[in-house]
């Protein structure tokens, strides 16, 4: 099913043609000079008379709509009509006084009068938008139902509507456009489906084109709904795939086996007994064999502080093909999953973005922290599903990031690695002592020679990073966990 165009009032009474003409005649009375006023009249009014017109469903009382006229223009339709008349009339004289031709030409006058006699429509509209689900999960279909009501006194003979779908959302089913004719007080409803995309999406004003019946005058306006329509779509932070961390840890107990001997599970070494060592770590077997006291050391398991750094520069908004998920989307998804997994493992996790908008969530733990991260990943402007507008200052951002990073933090960088910048940032941060793991969603395609070249460049960039001692997960189409498992097999220590 696509758009539903049901109008209450389609069924009722009188002929449309006469209705249309009487309406335009009425319009004609408030002509040019009056126009501005009547437009502005459309800006509010109708605040009081809204509710009683509803046929008893659960809507809240509509408030004053906001209609802004952007342009009023002549479409120059029917300008040729008088010419047709004159042509026929002239011919009628030339060709032996044919009255029939003259008669045919008179039709031109009829339409010319129709065109001249119709004034500019003065729309007063109320728009209401309803979402089937305001907080869907990513990929869920959300049905948007739009109701437009003619709040004015006159019939709007030709009303063309284009809904202001948020930039990041693509309409899946149905159409966000609609055309109708509305008598005073009547409503038109249409609906369409958008698959939800991560983020906070606000609907923009609806574009409205109102024409008079002959189509000679056109009012181009925008209407806002009484309440802003917002769709919030948060990614679910399900923890898949343990991302093995590197050896840089804090002094707190966690799950990363370190090279430090002490209490723990995995055998590390034995050493001479020192006074005060706990009894349960004394090597009793050895004591029985040789009579010497020795102490077992285990690999200490500690927690790490991890900062997830998402590459959200304009360059990172790349996808293998139009319509595919872009690399930033995939990065954010991976960051969300890692965040959850790491937090679950007892590590302290923070968030940062490399992009024009600053995003910094200091490493932390706990449910509050998880909720805050989820919120940031869902709707922070730095991670928006569409490329940022602002300028990005690389060195400034890097300097600030270094100041913010706790000294014992390791980094997981999420970047498609389509240029050298992030690779160099990763190497520099690694050199500063923040051990770096790079998770790189692969945005390259293999069709054209240019795409192949980009793919090869990216691969060589990855191998350069690996040579420099950084861990890189090259994440293709497979699930992240698979990619991590594949890459982790090669890692040591």
């Amino acid at each position: 099913m696509s758009t539903v165009g049901s109008e209450e009032g389609t069924d009722v009474d009188d002929g449309t043609a006469t209705e249309g003409r009487s309406a335009t005649a009425r319009d004609g009375s408030d002509d040019a000079d009056d126009r501005e006023g009547s437009m502005r009249g459309g800006v509010q009014e109708g605040a009081g008379d809204g509710p009683d017109e509803h046929d008893g469903d659960d809507e809240s009382p509509e408030e004053a709509e906001r209609l802004t006229v952007r342009d009023v223009l002549d479409t120059d339709r029917w300008v040729g009509a008088p010419a047709v008349t004159l042509l026929f009339a002239g011919l009628a004289i030339v060709v032996d006084r044919q009255a029939g031709l003259l008669l045919a030409g008179a039709v031109g006058v009829v339409f010319a009068a129709y065109a001249y006699g119709s004034g500019t429509p003065a729309p007063t509209l109320a728009v209401e938008r309803r979402l089937s689900d305001e907080t869907p999960g990513p990929g869920d279909d959300v049905r948007v139902t739009v109701t437009v009501r003619n709040e004015g006194e006159a019939t709007l003979p030709d009303l063309r509507l284009v809904d202001g779908v948020p930039p990041a959302l693509a309409v899946g089913e149905g159409s966000p456009r609609h055309a109708t004719a509305l008598r005073p007080g009547k409503r038109a409803t249409f609906s369409y489906v958008v698959p939800a995309v991560r983020g906070r999406h606000e609907w923009e004003s609806m574009q409205v084109i109102v024409r008079n019946a002959p189509g000679t005058r056109e009012v181009d306006a925008t209407v806002d709904s009484a309440e802003p329509t917002t769709l919030r779509c948060s990614p679910d932070l399900d923890a898949t795939g343990d991302l093995p961390l590197r050896g840089l840890t804090t002094q707190y107990t966690g799950r990363i086996a370190t090279d430090v001997g002490g209490p723990g599970l995995e055998f590390h070494s034995t050493r001479d007994y020192r006074h005060g060592d706990p009894l349960n770590r004394v090597d009793w077997n050895r004591m029985a064999r040789t009579g010497e006291l020795a102490t077992l050391d285990f690999r200490e398991e500690r927690a790490a502080t991890v900062v997830l750094l998402v590459d959200a520069r304009e360059e990172a908004y790349v996808a293998p093909e139009p319509g595919a998920e872009n690399a930033v989307e995939r990065s954010v998804e991976a960051a969300g999953r890692s965040f959850s997994a790491l937090l679950g493992g007892g590590d302290r996790v923070g968030l940062a973005a490399l992009g024009p908008d600053e995003l910094w969530l200091a490493p932390g733990a706990g449910n509050d922290h998880r909720a805050r991260a989820r919120d940031l990943l869902a709707s922070h402007p730095a991670l928006s599903p569409t490329p940022p507008d602002g300028r990005f200052f690389p060195s400034l951002r890097l300097r600030r990031l270094r100041r913010q990073l706790p000294s014992d933090a390791q980094l997981i960088v999420f970047s498609p690695l389509v240029d050298d910048y992030v690779a160099s940032v990763a190497r520099r941060l690694d050199a500063y002592g923040h051990l770096v793991t790079v998770v790189s969603p692969d945005p390259t395609a293999g069709g054209t020679p240019g795409e192949l070249l980009a793919r090869i460049e990216r691969r060589s960039r990855i191998s350069r990073l690996r040579r420099a001692g950084l861990r890189v997960v090259d994440w293709g189409d497979e699930p992240l966990a698979t990619a991590v498992a594949g890459a982790a097999g090669r890692w040591s220590g």
Partner: protein, 208 residues
């Protein structure tokens, strides 16, 4: 590096694709009515911008009536009429305003042909009315297609427009024909021409 930009471009396109949808959702209202449809069309992928089917078929129907009207008395006048119908159909198929207007003009040419050949006044009236309505519906179909696309439900607005034009045309021609019948008492055609001219000018002045 050029390779990198190739990827980057791909991504850009993708985001533009998204963006484009917004632009077409948001921006086209402003441009749609004018003739810069070609301009908008290139940017907007994914939306079928061909003329609205309902108005287009009404346009062809009106064109057919026009041919009928011109061919009523003078059968040969149906030939240019049919040519006009073909041009009209081509224009509607391709979404070309110029072709639709051309088709309307050729249809009117058929009416002139019939008039010169001495066709009956009622037939000529029907021919002219049909030609003007064919152009009106056709142009409306194109505008509707450009502004909203074929996927949108535009039926009601098209119907209203068509009915309004038809009503005006039929009532107007009826009045004209009535005057003709009542006053066909041998007034010189030239006088009637000047009368018509006066009406046109008056209408023009009143509209200012």
């Amino acid at each position: 590096m050029s390779g990198t930009s190739a990827v980057a471009n791909d991504g850009d396109e993708r985001t533009n694709g998204h963006d484009g949808d917004r632009k077409l959702a948001a921006g086209e209202g402003a441009t749609g009515s004018a003739d810069d449809a070609d301009d908008t069309e290139t940017h907007q992928r994914g939306v079928d911008r061909s003329p609205a089917t309902f108005s287009a078929s009404l346009s062809l129907l009106a064109g057919l009536f026009s041919v009928l009207g011109s061919g009523l008395g003078v059968l040969t006048a149906a030939a240019p009429g049919f040519a006009g119908l073909l041009v009209l159909a081509a224009g509607l198929y391709r979404g070309s305003r110029r072709a639709v207007t051309g088709g309307g003009v050729v249809l009117l040419g058929g009416v002139v042909f019939a008039g010169v050949g001495g066709g009956p006044p009622a037939g000529l009236l029907l021919g002219a009315l049909g030609a003007l309505l064919a152009w009106d519906y056709g142009e409306n179909a194109i505008t509707m297609g450009e502004q909203l696309g074929r996927a949108a439900d535009t039926r009601r607005a098209e119907l209203f427009h068509a009915a309004a034009s038809l009503g005006v045309g039929v009532v107007g021609s009826g009045v004209v024909y009535g005057i003709y019948l009542g006053a066909s008492g041998g007034q010189p055609v030239t006088a009637l021409v000047f009368l018509l001219l006066a009406v046109v000018l008056l209408a023009g002045v009143l509209s200012e």
